[in-house]
Amino acid sequence: MQTRFSFGGDEHIFAEVGEAMSLEAFFKSLFITNAVRDAKIRGVTEICPANASYQVKFDPDQIKPDDLLTELKRLDSASEKSEPVIKTRIIEIPVLYNDPWTHETLMRFRERHQDPNGTDLEYAARINGLDSVDAFIKAHSSAPWFVSMVGFVAGLPFLYQMVERKRQLQAPKYLRPRTDTPKLTVGHGGCFSCIYSVRGAGGYQMFGITPMPIYDPNQNISYLRDFMCLFKPGDIVKWKPIDRAAYDAAVADVDAGRFAPVIRDVSFSLTEFNRDVDAYNAKLDGVLHGR
């Protein structure tokens, strides 16, 4: 993988690690952005890792653009030697798949969809060669996902499924974007899932909704008091399918301030993961459930 660098005007350097999405490209982006942060380079104001690329914003009055580019290229080649291991967190996200709120919304915008006569879940199941919505939900929730980027809007995670490429679920975006998406919708576009942190426009297929807030600008939610956004790039997410009763109970718990998310610290090795994906994911599941 040869990183491609480009200036984004006089204040940004954009680095494309891979044209295609892969865990290798994501890991390299995460590594280099961590290294840039640790290097505390004068004049650097924003360090943004993305799925298979990254971006550094800087003040050219404090550092010459070419000097920063040289430094980033140096860190890029040094990253080749580093072991792809990260200390991170695994977070369980409860999901009510096939919920009434995204269903109402997807029916309202049906004429903007590839399959006006079905639902987003039915469409996604069919184009991924699965024979039922239940089989699709199982495929979506059985393996964990990497938070490979946080952004678009405040706190929104892009999630990349931790299985071999041939097993990855894929679905195109809506033909024309919707003007509305319920808050906390679990969506999917291309190879990425996401959780909509705020209500608003969106083009991803809608599969369900989580009762667990992930962004709180007022910081009233107990686990968002330290910081208003839950996710960081590199977090691992495991979906937990729940029914309506469990959803309602979780919402009541959130409102009463007693909802406690399941979050565990974990170390992740890309080399070991690639050796046996299913066994490694089972191990991660064990960490999540204290086994």
Partner: protein, 325 residues
């Protein structure tokens, strides 16, 4: 001391110089679209350069003052009226307790900045008072103003004099038609053909109605022709798709190759559309003053030209500071 909002205008928000440092989790800079005008308004009333002011787009609010104050309106030519009597833009003036500040129709530009001596004293969130409405963050309750809101005003320093003004050549407003926006090609420039690249810079574009704090859309130029490719895994099938990546401020994305969008202070921080380049930092203020239908040309520059433009914009700001010191 407070200012009561009698009528809010179209989309009036509290803004300062913004909230750097959180773009990696999708929280954009925010802050005044026309930063030069914000600084001018603040210096006129004796505030720190980066104090919080009101940014009013296309239409002014109607405000009632609960105490005597000094105010100044800069940016767009949005003529102020005090109890119905005309006042000058780019000039500080006194407001008596109980008086009402309103505005005439917009004559030129797009965004007016209303500074009050003491600054708009909303809570500081993540280091800034700016409103990021999409994330319901900062400003007054995380949203644009509504009738009935009461804005707290900080205590004014001693320098809030009336009758001070900014000379025309220090205002930094767009001049000439079409407005020229200097841009550095790059990012995913290689995705379009050479002819398409030439067309992008030679066509005259017009500001589309979809122009807000997130981004400005342009229409009227020729659609861009793409270099053929096999879609990379994760990018999506449309030739304008990329594997979702970060978007620089000022970056020019062209979904479907048809209508360029320049991201501004409330930018979405990333997404899946390719970008042909980036408007240079020195010209970002100008975009904030463009009305729909304004003709615009993108002018190709390199890094050295961008840095020279940056220097000249910063010298203009230096002169503004000296003039109002």
């Amino acid at each position: 001391m407070a200012v009561k909002v009698l009528k809010p205008g179209l989309a009036t928000t509290v803004q300062d110089l913004g909230r750097p440092g959180y773009y990696h989790i999708g929280i954009p800079l925010s802050g005044a679209m026309d930063r030069h005008a914000l600084v001018a308004a603040n210096l006129l009333v004796g505030n720190d350069a980066g104090a919080a002011v009101l940014e009013a787009v296309f239409m002014g609010p109607e405000l009632e003052f609960t105490a005597d104050a000094t105010v100044a309106i800069t940016g767009a030519e949005l003529p102020p009226k005090l109890d119905g009597e005309p006042r000058e833009t780019w000039t500080s003036f006194k407001v008596k307790r109980g008086q009402i500040l309103s505005f005439d129709f917009l004559k030129q530009g797009a965004r007016g900045y209303v500074a009050v001596a003491g600054g708009i004293d909303v809570p500081v969130v993540l280091g800034s008072r700016s409103t990021y409405a999409l994330g319901a963050l900062g400003g007054f309750k995380g949203r644009k103003l509504e009738a009935g809101d009461e804005l707290p005003i900080g205590s004014a320093g001693a320098t809030g004099k009336d009758g001070r003004s900014v000379a025309r050549d220090l205002r930094g407003q767009p001049a000439g038609m079409p407005t020229e926006l200097r841009a550095m090609p790059g990012l995913y420039w290689h995705r379009i053909t050479e002819a398409a690249g030439d067309g992008f810079f030679s066509d005259t574009w017009k500001v589309a109605p979809e122009a807000d704090r997130i981004g400005y859309r342009f229409k009227g130029g020729k659609p861009l022709e793409f270099v053929p490719r096999e879609p990379p895994f994760g990018a999506g099938s449309d030739p304008s798709n990329i594997t979702d990546a970060c978007y620089p401020y000022g970056s020019i994305q062209v979904p479907g190759g048809t209508e360029p969008i320049v991201l501004h202070r409330d930018a979405v921080s990333g997404g899946g559309y390719f970008m042909v380049g980036t408007v240079i930092a020195a010209d970002m203020d100008l975009i904030g003053q463009l009305q729909p239908n304004t003709p615009v040309k993108f002018v190709k520059v390199d890094m050295n030209q961008a840095l020279a433009a940056r220097k000249s914009r910063s010298e203009l700001l230096g002169k503004l500071h000296s003039a109002l010191a």
